[in-house]
Point group: C2
Chain length 458, copies 2
Amino acid sequence: MSKTMEALREIFGCRVSASLAERYCYASDASQVQGMPDYVVRPENTQEVSWLLRFCSEHQIPVTPRGAGTGLAGGASPVRGGVVLDMSGMCKIVEIDIGNLQVIVQPGVVADKLNLALRPHGFFFPPDPGSSAMCTIGGMISNNSSGMRSVKYGTTKNYLLDLEVVLADGRIIRTGSKVLKSSAGYDLTRLFAGAEGTLGVITEAGLKMAPLPRSRKLVLTCFQDAETAGRAVISVFSAGITPSACEILDRLTCRVLKSCDPNVAVPDDGDVILFEVDGQESSTEEEALQIAEICRQQALSVRVADSKKEMDEIWAARKLVGAAISRLDPSKTRIYMGEDVGVPISRIPSLIKKVQQISAKLDIPAMKFGHIGDGNLHVALFIDVMDDVQWQKLRLAADRIHRAALEMGGTVSSEHGIGQARAEYLPEQMGEETLQVMRSIKRAIDPANILNPGKLAL
Amino acid sequence: MSKTMEALREIFGCRVSASLAERYCYASDASQVQGMPDYVVRPENTQEVSWLLRFCSEHQIPVTPRGAGTGLAGGASPVRGGVVLDMSGMCKIVEIDIGNLQVIVQPGVVADKLNLALRPHGFFFPPDPGSSAMCTIGGMISNNSSGMRSVKYGTTKNYLLDLEVVLADGRIIRTGSKVLKSSAGYDLTRLFAGAEGTLGVITEAGLKMAPLPRSRKLVLTCFQDAETAGRAVISVFSAGITPSACEILDRLTCRVLKSCDPNVAVPDDGDVILFEVDGQESSTEEEALQIAEICRQQALSVRVADSKKEMDEIWAARKLVGAAISRLDPSKTRIYMGEDVGVPISRIPSLIKKVQQISAKLDIPAMKFGHIGDGNLHVALFIDVMDDVQWQKLRLAADRIHRAALEMGGTVSSEHGIGQARAEYLPEQMGEETLQVMRSIKRAIDPANILNPGKLAL
């Protein structure tokens, strides 16, 4: 047994492993980015994390923190070896503090489980990534996750009150408190959030909760093209309505939706926008009618969903759609690349057109759907994974999609993160001098560069 | 003329001054913190700011950026001399971009003027500090300002999409873009926001707008004590309602309100909570009735305001109340100290009681009012400014109020900032090790420490 393993064993016992089988399981997240860890460590408390980071700093061992491994950019892939720190075992809901409108959690708590626990109290934690059934709060914080409802409710960052963070040298700090509002010093909470584990390891978080809306309504609209659809979206906002979701689905996406569930009554003769509103019963009815009225002038069709049952069916199908292309062509698999670009919302129609051109030129089918209300377009590219030529074309398509978004003043990731998969675009997106500021912060906080090295173009 | 003055003149012409009269005007903001600048400089564009910061870095001259000087913690007071950089002249609204739900402004734009320009388009910039008629967007960003409506709408930070920042060495960076949502690297936007000018000078900002609500309703409730009032507030949130304002006013505040405007029908026999809801006409009616229903069980009185006119009168009086104590006692003046503490919202009743004790013991009258929905209590202390003993007692009272908030897990500033006035409390509030992280970031970004030195316990 190596000296390192001996030292780790002493602290972690059977919660450290160097077996090939186990290391292989932790070699990647849900992306194509691969690495091979030397050790897998499963801490049970903050003190253990602190001990480990101090040890790894002293011995220059890279540490890659990991939640559920649902990330799509290689953020949790140990590309420089070293330790994968599996935080999923620290999964207690520490305190539901209704009187202060907040909940304290360990980072391994799964998003849906948190919401299950909050529901009886009339509250919820709004960020809703597609992976909410599996992903952990720690991962959501580290990637600033969101989802369909961020157009109204914002991203994970909007709900962070306090983080307990272990720094690279083992020091344990808190970045906030139970106070809902504070203007006192640098916003370290939002600096560590979205840092993808490159500045510290989050070991506890205080989260603000939101009141559960009493009612939801869904308006299904269909337009002859994405430009018209985009104009309708702006008209809705200008009318004083903030939808709780505002999703665009292209023709191909609608076809796949129907193949998932033939009962789903989604139009398929144009670009569809699903507007959801939530709140009081009275206002959702009023707003749904207003949206219908606004869209009717420009739309091919407009319909308010009949019932909660229909709404649930549509959203369930929408949630599955990214993975469901194989219903149309069983020989093809969706690969997550170029899947999370964002642009100023007025550019969404141009981006959709551009993706269509890229898809046609390279003969790689592309489903286009996403959160038009905040400019986030999800592109689903599909290939026969046994075909090397298609892999090459896929990489080329993803690269062109990323560059198209940047040319439109956009981002290569709206909600999935940069990790290693998208790191090459960061200098262009941020500008070299802004990146230098990031790098100087990284050096100041993690001078030995042990925390998740090889990510974020640092 | 000194060599420094010669160099400044060459760039800024008559927009630099070293006259005693002018320097004296820039010696302080709206707080008690004093300093004396050597030069006052009024830049007209980003390049000039860049030139100045490079020059000051090379010559080790402190630079204190300043907006309208409405700050209450000495953030804009040049405590180490050097240059006061008056940004109020860079006051253009660069672009109102409705199609992307945002507005681009220079930092000197005054908050109310921005909202005047957005209103015809059906949008607004929600943060609403009491000084909105004068304060600048740059100052609001640097202090993460907010106000009554942050309980629903959040703080300035929630509306920042992009900042143009000049670093200490003159480099110009941008921290974001026109994209509404991005998960791509460190959140430099929110790091520079709230940094009170210690990390860079903000020269342009992209701000997200919110749709103007169509309707507002106000519910006036009165409780026998603050504890009962606090419980009612939590019941309202738990019922799925997020009020757009949720203000507590103690008996003394209500008396002063009535002296400002005898027509204002605010109860004065207990602790008053003003609940405002906004949104669609139908939902505000529904929610106002629900709030009334919930509060009726525990309140001494509950009433929904009759008309928009009555609402406007009450809010106008509420906005004036902090400065209006002299109506009760013309010999006394409000001094802003200990005026912005925050605690977890369940502790607001205890904090009110504690402030009452401090006020009684030191015989310094205290009005207590504030944003109970986010735990922010404004305390207005009043003294005869000609009386040295009262000044001593005032300082003691403010110190005890700050310490009381900290003992309850709170903050010495919820929305006004730390500056120099509250810097001594930061080590206790944040913890020494968290403060060390702040200091290492400051050193990394402004190694010569020229930017607003002497603030934030850096």
